[in-house]
Symmetry: C2
Subunit: 331 residues, 2 copies
């Protein structure tokens, strides 16, 4: 197999987060499902924004956060996603390029504005996502460069890409290109409601298109329509290649056929904001894989990265994850 | 005198901050004066942005931060400043309105984009400001509503308004309208380099146009071209009405003619980011004045607000200053 030029290429929605603290009552009054991601249109986004408190804008997007985390570990990352040529698009592009990630996707010059996610953080640190996909729905197969995919050790795809119709084609093109080049393809299931929307297609993906699956407890249980974690684990063992299943404070379970590891979460003093926890778990796990670490060590790297990101506001690391991992003796 | 409709009306540059952590060497390599505010044009802003690390966008602007702090204390605030009708302009308007501040200034529909300040925060927590004034230079006397000014107990003006030429006219119109209505007029000297640029006019202002002056040590020493704080204090006592002079960790000195108070700073565990320290001092001090508090208590409220804002990233309070002041027994 030829040399890789990239450790992980992420493909996902290119989103700027608008984070704001709120009370549970604010969500309840609007019937917003706490902890989940709901898609909203431009008018709904405008209404919700006008009703919520002051915000902080930070680059986000699930796969983009993962690639940012990978870069913080010292990995070679690339990202494919669609912004518009507007101020928030500039912010997104700047932030990801400034940490050394390759980001070449052309910005849309017309149509909807750059995607925004209104992130409502309740006092318990839980985040509830309200996403206006905007320009990110313009991602299509032409945005996927086959050489770039073939040069990446792992291509990492977010399940959220299944929401905008064109992006699905980009997803499948990337997955097939990577497999043809003998590379790994990873998928995160993203969100239980997202799984609900696309269950049959996701089952098809985990069985035939991807060989590494990331999911949290709710997502994997939704995928297999079971009501307890162990049943979901057994199903994933039979169905998926490598599955990395996260369980918040209960740590994670890594299953690769009959090889199963149960890895503890890294404890944090206070959960400030869970935004990006799953994304950063994937960052650490994927970085470990690209460095040939054993699966349990990959899980530890993921847990460590998740613990860093939930200790502060925002979905991207505030400190060098490479240094953090060294100080924990796991790099 | 008629009833007031507003406690403090702030007039200033309407700016969105882009905060980014950096090393001292980054500033040194570019000859940027640490701790100061330098004005940059659009091309310089683009270059610096492309060279700096990932950022976090938060509404800023000196007087706007002060009014946000006043609102957090429970005061009735209003703000006048110019954005463009772009995404960052929407962010600015949303953030200040969402905390109950009246903000009615029409956005520019052409010309430069909303003002941005590239805030570089070094490991010691010091902030260095690089401001592209953009649309805020479009503020002019027509944006000042005489009824709104006459209805405000205090009109608060930032010295930075002396940089864009049209804004100066807005400043003077507001100051004269307020005085004619028998209200107070406050000025912050903003920055030692700003004082350097406009010293003669600032001396004229403190002597004849405003009756409350805020300055830090470097600014007041620059105004009077003296090399120690006490000489500056004596000059201010002779020249200004009420002077609130801040000295970072050394607290503040409040002088009103022969009445002089020396108030200690509120200690913080760790200075994370000094952005907004002076702005929030002014917020607490002005709130105290509008509530008829003695001058020393006004200084304590200012010190408390400053201590909150330097304990986290960003120039606006993250917690209710009213609650914080109550918990400290000073409200």
């Amino acid at each position: 197999m030829s040399e890789t030029t990239t450790d992980v290429l992420g493909i996902g929605n290119a989103i700027v987060d608008v984070l704001s603290r709120t009370e549970d009552a604010f969500l309840e009054a609007r019937g917003i499902a706490k902890g989940a991601m709901q898609l909203i249109d431009e008018a709904q986004a405008a209404t919700l924004y006008s009703e919520m408190g002051p915000g902080v804008e930070m680059s986000g997007g699930s796969a983009a956060n993962t690639i940012a985390g990978l870069a913080s570990f010292g990995g070679r990352g690339a990202f494919v996603g669609k912004v518009r040529d507007d101020q928030l698009g500039d912010v997104f592009a700047h932030d990801i390029r400034s940490i050394g990630v390759e980001f070449q996707t052309g910005a849309a010059t017309a149509g909807a504005s750059t995607a925004r996610c209104l992130v409502l953080v309740t006092p318990d640190g839980e985040r509830t996502l309200n996403t206006f996909l905007g320009a990110s729905t313009g991602l299509g197969p032409d945005d996927v460069d086959e050489d770039q995919v073939a040069g990446a050790s792992i291509t990492y795809l977010e399940g959220y890409l299944w929401d905008p119709p064109e992006a699905k084609e980009a997803f499948l093109k990337a997955a097939r290109t990577a497999r043809k080049a003998g590379r790994d393809v990873a998928l995160t299931l993203s969100d239980p409601f997202c799984v609900e929307r696309h269950r049959d297609e996701f089952l098809e993906l985990v069985r035939n298109e991807v060989n590494i699956v990331f999911a949290n407890e709710a997502e994997i249980m939704s995928l297999y329509q079971v009501d307890n974690f162990d049943d979901a684990l057994q199903a994933a063992k039979a169905d998926c290649g490598l599955a990395a299943l996260t369980r918040s404070a209960a740590g994670c379970v890594i299953a690769d056929g009959d090889e199963v590891h149960v890895v503890d979460a890294v404890k944090v003093d206070r959960v400030v904001d869970t935004t990006g926890a799953g994304d950063l778990f994937a960052a650490g796990f994927l970085f470990g894989l690209t460095r040939g670490k054993p699966l349990a060590a990959c899980g530890q790297l993921g847990s460590l990265a998740a613990s860093e990101v939930i200790s502060h506001v925002g979905a991207r690391p505030e400190t060098s994850l490479a240094d953090l991992a060294k100080s924990h003796g796991i790099l």
